[in-house]
Symmetry: C2
Subunit: 223 residues, 2 copies
DNA sequence: TCAACCCACTGTACGACGTACACGACCCGC
DNA sequence: GCGGGTCGTGTACGTCGTACAGTGGGTTGA
């Protein structure tokens, strides 16, 4: 097997594997994250991965944990609960947004490790302060976090392939298809076409919808 | 190859394949939906599928379309926009909820066929009536639909395996893990444990969060 | 009536995937 | 110098999607 270099290769490690996997997922999508592919990129046999991870699923656990660890939870202040809630959700968004291909992995793994528990505790505390019972708070909090993840994950094409020229082209094609719909049946879809097809690289989309969530929480507070 | 019956087998069709795939996904999760497995269940060679679908992805397209077609859009009334929006979102939820394993497929395929376009048009119309510009309406509407899907898809374990006794056991284990956390660090996580771990089989969770979304839309309306 | 045709399906094969199992090589303290 | 962890190799198996080349049976035109 060809080594990465002729001299000694820097020892493999959990962290190095995870970092490589994250980079790979960012560049080519989650489907490109393969035991064999990662091994190859580290100049190593596929089976070498199994010393550091018991199986592929635990590798994905590692990726999710990596994302969740990156959340920089803002320090508690004496600002009102809704302002603080917005900050917490925004912090989560900021951490996850660079890795849309991995966002979905965090969906079911937030409560699996300490950093995620910290986030959950914080959200539940703010929701309790807002007047929710623990059960209601859990339901709302679960939904909030899931929504942030979806906000990020729902955006891109299933898996961004190599050339970003292609991606643009695909978007243009999609827009053209919308534009060619019968205008008497779908006037608003056509009018909104550019916004429906656009990639969410501005902050507007995220700001607006985080606001929507927080406003929603305020709205259902009394129940 | 063994036929499903000794006598002539009823001709294969797109619809039959999709129906089988939906049933399979409901029973054993999306991972069980395999070209080979479907072929076997129809008493047919794997390659026979490729007469009806160009590849697996177009089969998944078919599944998504099947779900979206099932949405029973309520007739327009002269009720206020927010009440109607709630009805539309609820209708979407009702159609998707029986098939959590397939919900995510609809995320990027709503605008691919006519029934989905109809839904989009309707949502955009209501949002326009609420005072949103087409662009803003598109951003909010996209998020609303994605949220409904997430509401359904985020719930179950990755893929429900065979015995539902196991599923209950897994839930109990997870709850026990939460309960054994240090109470001084995670008091609210522990208090909310049952609600965090519970399966969302009651309507409460969905009703509450649809309300949250509609209230959120009302909240961000003026911008 | 019979050859021609096409639809729906078969058969075989290939490369990629996750991973079980057995086997080294390296490095450490004793 | 040597025995036992730590880390990695080599080989193999079963499963996946699917390319490509056949093939049989129903319909059709002469």
């Amino acid at each position: 097997m060809a080594r990465k270099s002729d001299v000694t290769r820097p020892r493999l490690s959990r962290e190095a594997i995870v970092a490589g996997a994250v980079a790979l997922a960012d560049a080519e999508g989650l489907d490109a994250v393969t035991i064999r592919r990662l091994a190859q990129e580290h100049g190593v046999t596929p089976m070498a991965m199994y010393w550091h991870f018991s199986d592929k699923d635990s590798l994905l656990d590692g990726l999710a944990e990596h994302l969740i660890e990156a959340v920089k939870l803002p320090a508690p202040t004496d600002a009102p609960w809704d302002a603080q809630l917005r900050e917490v959700l925004a912090a989560f968004l900021v951490a996850v947004r660079p890795h849309p291909a991995l966002a979905n992995l965090t969906l079911r793994r937030i409560l699996a490790a300490e950093p995620g528990l910290e986030i959950a505790e914080r959200v539940l505390e703010l929701l309790q302060r807002a007047g929710f019972t623990p059960a209601r708070g859990a339901e709302v909090g679960t939904f909030l976090v899931c929504s942030i993840i979806t906000l990020v994950a729902a955006d891109p094409s299933p898996a961004p392939p190599r050339p970003e020229v292609d991606e643009d082209q695909a978007r243009r094609d999609k827009l053209a298809r919308l534009a060619s719909l019968p205008p008497e049946r779908y006037p608003r879809v056509i009018a909104a076409g550019p916004a429906l097809v656009a990639c969410r690289d501005g902050d507007d989309y995220f700001d607006l919808n985080i606001d929507l969530l927080v406003e929603g929480v305020r709205g259902v507070r009394r129940r």
